[in-house]
Every structure is written in C-alpha cells, then in structure tokens.
C-alpha cells in the first residue's frame, strides 16, 4: 500500500494485471523484447508466491527481471503473520540474487544492485523483498553513483589464447557448423554471428532460445536443431567436423541423447557462465565470455588466416539439403493446418513484428514453421516450458515496442491459463493479437499419448469451452473464428490495421502431430515423421 501510494505521483508507468503470474511474464516479455530490465511488483504472501512461476520462467531463460514483493513488518517476520511468506526462501533457487532491505537506508543500494545483477553477466531475475515498516519509514538517503559487489564477478572478455586455438580449429575445419543459443540474443551478438557464419560458410542452427539470433531466411540458416528440429538439420549436424556452440547449454531438448550427440565432431563452446562449460557436454575448446566479445575476437583472429570463399563443398551441400527440403510440399488436404497458418502469418507480418508463443504443440509448430528474421522477435519459454507465458509476455513486449505488431501464437490450453490478461491488454491499451491453434486438447501431451501410449488419452481433452470469440467480446476485445485460409488472411490483415486486442480462434484437427520429432532419450538421428 505505501509503495503504491507514492507510485501515483511517480513517472513510472504501472500496468495493472489480474494475476501476479502474468505480471512476472509481462516483465519478462518486456525484457526479452527490449533488452532492458523488466520490473514486476506484488504484495506479500500469496501475491509474492504467485510471482514465482514467472520468476522461474525468467530464470531458466536468463531474462533480466527485477521482482519487488511486499513483506510483513520486520518485527513480524517469522511469526506467521497475516499474508507472510518467506519469499526469499521460496524464490532462492529460481533467482540470481535476492535482497531484503531491513532499513530504508538500504533501499537505494539494494535497488541499484538488483538492476545491476539482473542485467549483467548471465542475466536473470533478482528479487527485492521490502518489509512494510521499511516501506513506510522515511530517511534522507543517497543514491550511490555506482555499486560494487565484491562477490559478483563477470567475465566478459575471452582469453586470447583460447580464441587463437578456436580460430585455428575453425580455420582448419572442412565442415564447420554453428549452434547458436539464447546467449547470442542476450548479448546482442547477432550481427557478429552472421559475419562469422558468412566468413566460415558455416550453416547455423539454433536452439529454441537461439531462434531469431540468426535470420532464418539467410542461405546458411538451418532453423532449429533438437527434439523438434527439422530432419535435415538434425542429420546435417552429425556430419560437421567442428561445432561452434555459442551461448547455448546443450539441453536434452537441443541435443537429444547427449552421449550420442555428434560423437565425431570437435566442439568449441562459448558461454558467459563458466559453470555451463562441461556441465552437460565436454568440449575441446571452452571460452568463458560474453558471446559478442568472443565472436568479435574470433573474427579478428580468423581474419589473419582465412579469406571468405565463395563456396565450399560443405556450403554446396548445405544449399542442396536446404533446396531438397524447401521443395517438399506439404499436402494433407486439410484446409487449416498449423504449418499453413503459420507460414501465411509470416508472409503477412513485417520482419520486425514480434511473436510470442505459449507452450506445447503451438510452440513447436511456431518454431518449425514461423521463420524469425530478427533478434528479439521470437519470444518463448524455452527452459521452463511455462504454459500461460505467451499472452502476458506479448503484452509486455507490446509495452516495450508499442509501434510493432505483437502476436501470441497460442494453444487453447495454454491461453486459458492466463486469458484474464485480456483485461490488461484492453484497458491498458496494449493491443496484441492472440492466434489460438485450437485443438480442444492439451495437444502436446495428447501427441505423446498418441505416439507412445497407444492413443490412451488421459486428462487431455479440454472440450468445446470456452467460446473464444465470446470470451474476447466479454473483455471488450475483438474475436474471430476462421474456417479457411482466405478468412484467416483477412482477419490477420484486419488485426494489423485495427490495432485492438484481437483473439483469433483457428480450429484445427485434434489428431494433428507436430513432426518431425525425436522421442525423449533418443539420438537426433532417430526422427519420427
């Protein structure tokens, strides 16, 4: 209450949400779209615990978020007072750091340190838990010019010797391959990545988090690798003699069965977080550094002993593989399929448009079929896989980039988890469009049950409710249901013109699988579909 009272007189824009989880996702979406730190605030106890899912989402995807929570007065802490929760204890494993200022004098430093820690090094969420009496108290305070945190070390610049070694290995490589992760986007190193790929004539595949870090309409782009990566990419990466992994952490979703992941390749790994080196995958050359710094250093080192070729046998092979893939025409005979819809969406959206995704089939269709052309335009909950993320994140992204169209590619199940954010989108004038690939199912779980549990559908059928068109209307948003590709295109164009909160219900076949797919625990070579 005291903090909200003074907020009325401040220049800070406050966006009122309907559930704290959405507040955390909005702050996260804001951060991912803009590169600046997003902020969310909640009351003590249940307000604070409701933030936790969103904080954990930001944590696993290294997104800079500062979460501020209220706390009971300091004398009451530990007494199980009304609406007391040990939020520092609860959130500790999913925050980069947390503060609980015990006097008003500690607040300025805590705030400055929080923003500093959240946004530097490997970014992540920081929590500031402010007891009520500390909020109310008054004191003359000074904002320090800068803060120093003696236990917080961030290595930005790479070790030159390691760079030289990596450059040697890359210069000798006949079939170099680049695997780009979210770290490239976080360090704004897309430009450097592109220059390096063009110099080496190396194909670039991304992890889910890396999507957007390399333009997917580039001749060297191989899209996404991993469980739902394209078949061609998952095969091609096995042929590489050297794999340069930048800002990615070799998760099971990216590598498939890890001990069978490219056993014949040499690995170079760049990551800002030293603990990621060797955590999942042992590598030949490990470079602890900010991706941008490391890539620039690599480019300088390579400039000495490599001149860009026009093409190589490897780059020709990449081109052939891509052409063969592009020539495969999907023809299921169905009018509305997710791949068709998403390809059409890409065609209609400008390159700077931002899409967020929910989690599940919609997310994997989006990553397979919707090409991201610029960094920070494809926002998804990768590590945590948090259903309900996409819609509030899209509102946060819209707050960061009001002039850019923002779309949430959703499934019906995920959207329902945070659909009450429609109120925020409408009333706060943060118009986004939600595109629901509606299969009346928890589709990804249903797909696994279809493929691995003999079609025994357990707890996945969501039924025909709600009517999303009416739901949108109830919140003062526009709702459409489309039955054909032509209608779909028209509604998209309209939503781009209108700039009002829009919900588009696209009914799809509930039996539709996201393919290709590598079953969990298998090597990337064992692709279904």
């Amino acid at each position: 209450m005291p903090a909200y009272d003074v907020l009325l007189d401040s220049e800070i824009r406050h966006i009122l949400v309907r559930h704290e989880q959405s507040a955390a996702h909005m702050a996260d979406g804001y951060a991912r779209a803009s590169g600046r730190t997003g902020v969310c605030m909640a009351t003590s106890g249940p307000g604070a615990t409701n933030l936790v899912t969103g904080i954990a989402t930001a944590h696993l995807d290294s997104s800079p978020v500062v979460a501020i929570t209220g706390q009971v007065s300091t004398p009451q802490i530990g007494l199980d007072a009304f609406q007391e929760a040990d939020i520092i204890g609860i959130a500790s494993p999913v925050t980069k750091y947390s503060f609980q200022p015990r006097s008003v004098a500690e607040i300025p430093t805590a705030v400055m340190k929080a923003f500093y820690i959240a946004s530097t090094g490997r970014a992540g969420p920081v929590l500031i838990d402010v007891p009520k009496d500390v909020q109310v108290d008054l004191a003359e305070v000074e904002y320090p010019e800068k803060v120093e945190i003696r236990g917080y070390r961030t290595v930005y610049k790479p070790d030159q010797e390691k760079i030289n070694r990596a450059a040697e290995v890359l210069a000798r490589a006949e079939k170099p391959f680049i695997l780009a992760g979210g770290g490239v986007t976080l360090s704004n190193a897309s430009h450097e990545l592109q220059r390096l790929a063009e110099l080496l004539l190396a194909p670039v595949a991304t992890s889910l988090m890396g999507k957007g870090s390399f333009p997917e309409d580039h001749p060297l782009s191989m899209g996404m690798v991993g469980m739902h990566g394209s078949k061609e990419t998952n095969q091609l990466i096995y042929e590489a003699d050297v794999i340069l992994a930048v800002g990615c952490r070799f998760t099971d979703r990216t590598t498939g069965r890890l001990d069978e992941f490219c056993p014949a390749s040499h690995f170079i790994h760049i990551d800002i977080d030293a603990t990621e080196i060797g955590k999942n995958k042992c590598v030949e050359v490990a470079i602890v550094s900010d991706a941008g710094h490391a890539l620039r250093a690599l480019l300088r080192a390579l400039a000495k002993n490599l001149t860009a070729a026009k093409d190589t046998p490897w780059s020709r092979k990449v081109r052939e593989v891509k052409e063969a893939y592009a020539n495969k025409i999907e023809n299921s005979g169905k009018e509305l399929t997710p791949p068709k819809v998403l390809k059409e969406l890409r065609r209609l959206l400008p390159p700077q448009a931002i899409v967020t995704t929910e989690v599940g089939q919609n997310q994997m269709w989006a990553s397979l079929c919707f090409r991201a052309l610029r960094p920070r335009t494809f926002i998804t909950s990768g590590g945590f896989g948090c259903m309900g993320f996409g819609f509030p994140a899209s509102i946060g992204a819209k707050a960061a980039k009001p002039d850019v169209p923002v779309f949430d590619i959703a499934g019906d199940g995920s959207f329902m988890m945070t659909e009450n954010s429609l109120a925020t989108s409408v009333l706060e004038k943060l118009p986004v469009t939600v595109l629901i690939l509606n299969n009346r199912m928890l589709g990804m779980v249903a797909q696994w049950q279809r493929l691995f549990y003999n079609r025994r559908y357990s707890a996945v059928k969501l039924g025909e409710v709600p009517d999303f068109v009416k739901l949108a209307g109830a919140y003062g948003a526009e709702g459409y249901r489309v039955g054909s590709m032509r209608e779909f295109s028209e509604v998209i164009k309209k939503s781009l013109r209108n700039e009002v909160t829009t919900v588009i219900d696209v009914p799809i076949d509930p039996e539709e699988n996201v393919l290709p797919m590598v079953p969990a625990g298998y090597s990337l070579k064992e692709v279904i579909g």
Binding site: I88, G89, S92, P93, R150, G151, A274, T275
Partner: protein, 168 residues
C-alpha cells in the same frame, strides 16, 4: 571412482548466506560429506570448508556453482597433499567400569586426545586430527558404548603462503 574433495570458500558473513549455499548443494544434487563454517580473517567474512564425495567433474562444477553465487567471494579446491586438514570431535563414552575407564585413558593417550569432561558414568573425549583418525578412534571405542558424537567436519588451509583469500 568417487573420491573425496575439499573445497575452501570465502563467503559474506551475513544472514541467509548459509541457506543460499546449502540450497545450491541440494538443487544441483551434490553429495556433501561435511561443511565447517566460522568467521574468517576478516569479521565480515566466513570461511566454509566443504568436503564432497564425487567425481573430478563434480568438484569442479561445485567450485563453479559456488563462485557463481553472489555471496561467495572465492572458492577453490584444495590439494589435499599440500593442505593442513583437521577435524575436531567430541566423543562421550560410557565409562562406569574402572577397567573401561582405564582403557579409554589409554586410547586417548595413543590418539593424542584429551579428556574434557568426566562424570561417574561417562567420559567425554576431544580428538583432533584427520577424518580417518577420528573414525578410527570412534570405531575402537564403540564397544565401550558411545553415548554421543559431535564432529565439526573437516576444516583446512593450504600449507605455505598460498591462500584462498581476497585482498582488501
């Protein structure tokens, strides 16, 4: 083969730090044998000596994860050949029988321990040394009846001028 590693960490001496560190042990699944903590060379710093059982990579990963924590200023693995490693144990033994009592006194002498408390029924022994030495003492005296054992866990410093410290 699982080995034992000793890690020395210099941490902020303030509330909540032990929670954050032990939370990380749990979250990352480390198999911690013991942790000994106390004020370090500066009053606002504490030194944690952590003994972990595991593989080479576990020890390296633990050092990395420790260093990543904002409240940890420095962490390093100690070369056990080149470190002074000590543990202190208090062992309360049943000592009613005079024969047992004299045996205890004898063992304490051999282990260079001290009797720090005596009652008509018990004797409490202080033993300082390596973990193995303390293990040996306890197993040797178990037949007398061990009432209570309190061990500090191993604490250690590198021999010579080399150190795990921060410059002020």
């Amino acid at each position: 083969m699982a080995k034992t590693f000793i890690i020395s960490a210099l941490v902020e001496h303030k509330p909540g730090v032990l929670y954050k560190v032990s939370n990380m042990f749990w979250r990352r699944g480390f198999n911690i044998e013991s942790v000994a903590i106390g004020t370090a060379e500066q009053e606002d710093l504490a030194r944690m000596t952590i003994t972990i059982k595991g593989e080479e990579e576990d020890a390296e990963q633990l050092v990395g994860q420790l260093e990543k924590l904002v409240d940890v200023l420095k962490a390093a693995r100690l070369d056990q050949e080149r470190a002074v490693i000590r543990e202190l144990a208090l062992v309360k033994l049943r000592a009613k029988d005079p024969k047992v009592r004299s045996d205890i006194f004898h063992y304490v002498d051999v282990f260079r321990g001290r009797i720090v408390d005596v009652s008509p029924e018990t004797a409490t022994v202080e033993i300082v040394g390596s973990k193995d030495k303390i293990d040996a003492f306890i197993s040797l005296t178990r037949s007398f009846g061990v009432v209570e054992v309190a061990r500090t866990g191993e604490t250690a410093l590198i021999r010579g001028p080399q150190s795990v410290r921060i410059d002020i």
